[in-house]
Symmetry: C2
Subunit: 203 residues, 2 copies
């Protein structure tokens, strides 16, 4: 008949999310979560049973967040050529503001393949990816765009948007010697990616 204090639960979850995403499962200490949430470590176990279970919650919601962001515009009724620039723009904005979320999800996905499979399937059940493929193929048949594999197109799109931010600690420092204005440089990417992607499908 436990009701729990929703404020406390929320507070723990938010702090756990921030620290897990920053330091990963193994780098995160339950004591740190408790301290930053302003509670006792025993209370953390009272609410979430164990570090692993708390981590699962954070991992699942992180995967959810990533796929929710990537689903924007994906299934809109617009043509591929119309929605591609919108996807690029919204993906880039999200990734640039949440780079460590992607590092976390990828790193922990390699570490926890069984959860990854389970969680991705849960999240995908809420998003209609088949519709994207179907409408893409219809445009090919109608002769609107070039004959390109929709899956390869999407993988290209997310690769170009996500990778530079994943690799930014390395890329920025390596090119820092040459590229004077880093911010200008990353703004330039939106245009480059849009052009690259459109040239894949435009006849």
């Amino acid at each position: 008949m436990k009701r729990y204090n929703k404020d406390t639960e929320e507070k723990i979850l938010l702090v756990a999310q921030r620290i897990f995403r920053e330091k990963g499962f193994n780098g995160t200490k339950t004591q740190d979560i408790a301290d930053e949430a302003g509670i006792n470590k025993a209370l953390l176990h009272y609410y979430f049973t164990s570090k692993s279970i708390l981590f699962e919650r954070v991992f699942l919601s992180s995967i959810e967040e990533v796929f929710t962001a990537l689903a924007i515009h994906l299934n809109s009724d617009e043509s591929i050529i119309d929605k591609t620039p919108k996807m690029v723009s919204s993906y880039l904005k999200f990734v640039s503001q949440n780079a460590n979320l992607f590092v976390f999800v990828i790193s922990e996905a390699w570490q926890n393949p069984e959860f990854t499979e389970k969680f991705v399937k849960i999240v995908l059940s809420k998003i209609n990816y088949n519709q994207y493929v179907t409408s893409f193929k219809r445009e090919i048949e109608q002769g609107i765009i070039k004959d390109v594999d929709p899956v390869q197109f999407l993988i290209n799109l997310v690769s170009l948007c996500i990778f530079p931010f994943l690799g930014s600690p390395i890329i920025q420092n390596v090119f820092a010697k040459v590229e004077v204005d880093k911010k200008e440089f990353f703004l330039q990417r939106k245009e480059v990616i849009t052009n690259t992607m459109l040239s894949m499908v435009k006849k």
Copy 2:
């Protein structure tokens, strides 16, 4: 006047490399390294002083390995259009065989900003960045290729080659039929990336 046993040193380093790359710094236990190397934990400290110092060796040599692979063809005398397919081919092969090396390098680069200065030196010793940019720009001036930013071109190239393998534990679950480490997908990807990159520069 210590000489050390080179076999022992090598053995520890190889095992440490394998485990660090698989589990990261925080997921790796010195006891596991010692056990798998068939030595005592004290001997590990005799050779490498501390876990952190051993980790630094592994991290820096991993950076070196990555950029040695990326340097192949980058500074060859061939034209961009000739060397692009070769770069795609060799990068894809290397990444597909060493995906967890890239996950490790990216994840730990985020986790250990204090190594930045050291790895930048290593990277710049492996790739001749200025020569690549200069020869790229010369081809633009000569009208051989389109006017594209050489850095953006390179970032696109590595993004398309690396990201799908970084994300494979997730991507595989999204497109159930796509098996990222299967040969068919690999070959298809090589063609798609090559075409995408060439369309960026070909007139």
